[in-house]
Subunit: 311 residues, 2 copies
């Protein structure tokens, strides 16, 4: 059925394409190598991968682990030097907040994906003045027991003031969940900040706890993006809250901070694929929404009514 | 010349291989995506790339820049939060230390590859008590004027004590260069450390200088790997030196530190492709070499002779 001419043609086509594969593979490798920074160039030849290493990168470059760790309901950027996350990202919608995940079935655990010597553990928090604060809130990870369990990994935990965690920070978390009532999509990135003390000699000082030397952040941040539909212009707000005893009766709005200010302190670029200028640039969330929890709004409405009644 | 059978065969071969390309491309994309952490899955179909974005990663994850920046003679891991490098890696040999690069033609410059708002600049060091210390030494980058110029980029600079830079740190740099006389290949990774103060409440405190808030490290480290030939077992030593006025007449050996100790403080894994256990694990450099500069050895030999003559 297939004559020698067909076979020769077939072989010719195969050869030409094989060259294309080698070229493409080399190109992809070559392109991605410099990005990965591993200094390895691989060339596929006759099905064998030949590896050429830059002498500078012979034994590899200092490694601080992957930039992004994915979990079922959130993603984490881990800071191995400080033994806490640099950021934790989540995406919530009205429906994604509900599910069978139970808090009572979950417990704090070391993240098996993080080297033990660069991670916090139960012992580090014992006899310390700080509680184990969740960056992605437990209430946001009810979608499955796995997601709930992952919220309790130390890759999601920072040393936090107890009053703060149950007060103003809890309010900010409530507000993010309430946003899903008014916006179809909500993204929240939460993390620690280390702000300088002002004075003649400026310095940064933070406590460390436990054998691992877990860093206690001076402040916490949340950067929130909300979008009504995928066609609508997104709205953004950044909040910075001191890691100190602040009750829930404070206005969230008063903690709003310029995004660039948070980026400068954290050394991060948030939502790098979000337009910063032009017609697609985000609106100020606090200009299009209340930036206060319903509980806070109700409380002040009641106060005002009382004041009006009195006089 | 080419009959219809050949053409048909050619087309068949081309098609089969094209499928291979698509498969390979998809595989490569799919594999590398989670590593890059950008949450984008690209699928090549009929020559068009279809992109599927995980809703969590819709606007991208917080970005702290590339893990490795390559220059002609060295590589840098930049810490955007602290405005200094986390590490600078170099590879030196006896011959690579010489070339036409002139120090007098180079000057301190901001690295164009680093966002200005997350970089140090001339102004930050003015009126500060700290000098601009090179992590990869100027003397190691003579190979070309470009390499010399790149040693003066702020991506290679940390705030350093002047006496230290001209004293003990300079000795350590000299020692690394002297190693190339005895070992064919030498790798050096240098960087800053932030060590805790001990006390009832442990904390980390460091000064910051300038408008950018450039962090002043409490200590500096060098991790050195030397190898006689590519077949020989490498030798390794790690040194940690306080960023304070320490003259050159101190013994380098006394600053030797366990590698694991430096890794724990820095949150980094050095030379990840170097075997840690077994027959290929590195020897202790200070057991197979002097770990002192020739000048230090000569000075102490002279002292000993003097003492012997006196006594």
């Amino acid at each position: 059925m297939f004559g020698p001419l067909f076979r020769r043609g077939f072989a010719g086509g195969l050869l030409l394409s094989a060259a294309g594969v080698v070229g493409l593979r080399w190109l992809l490798q070559h392109q991605s190598d410099r990005d990965f920074g591993c200094g390895v160039n691989s060339i596929l030849r006759k099905g064998i991968v030949f590896t050429r290493v830059d002498p500078l990168a012979q034994f590899g470059f200092p490694d601080l682990g992957p930039p992004v760790r994915w979990y079922s309901k959130h993603a984490v950027g881990w800071n191995p030097e400080l033994r806490i996350p640099s950021w934790v990202a989540e995406h919530i919608t009205k429906t994604s907040l509900h599910g069978p995940g139970e808090r009572s079935k979950a417990w704090f655990r070391m993240d098996p994906a993080i080297p033990q010597s660069l991670s916090a553990s139960d012992g580090d928090y014992k006899h310390s003045a700080w509680i184990r604060g969740h960056l992605v809130p437990v209430e946001d990870n009810k979608v499955s027991q796995q997601a709930m369990d992952e919220a309790f990994l130390y890759s999601n935990i920072i040393p936090q003031d107890k009053t703060n965690a149950e007060g103003i920070w809890r309010s900010l978390e409530d507000y993010c969940r309430e946003l899903t009532e008014r916006f179809r999509y909500v993204w929240v990135v939460s993390g620690p900040l280390f702000r300088p003390t002002e004075g003649t000699q400026r310095s940064i000082k933070y406590q460390i706890i436990g054998d691992a030397g877990v860093a206690v952040p001076t402040h916490l941040y949340k950067v929130v993006v909300a979008q009504g539909s995928s066609e609508q212009r997104p709205a953004l707000a950044a909040f910075v809250i001191p890691n100190s005893p602040i009750e829930a009766d404070w206005s969230l709005h008063s903690f709003q901070t310029e995004l660039i200010e948070v980026e400068r302190t954290a050394g991060l670029t948030f939502f790098p694929r979000l337009a910063r200028v032009g017609v697609h640039a985000p609106q100020d969330l606090c200009a299009v929404d209340v930036c206060e929890t319903q509980a806070f709004v109700d409380k002040w409405a009641k106060e005002r009514r009382k004041m009006r009644a009195q006089g």
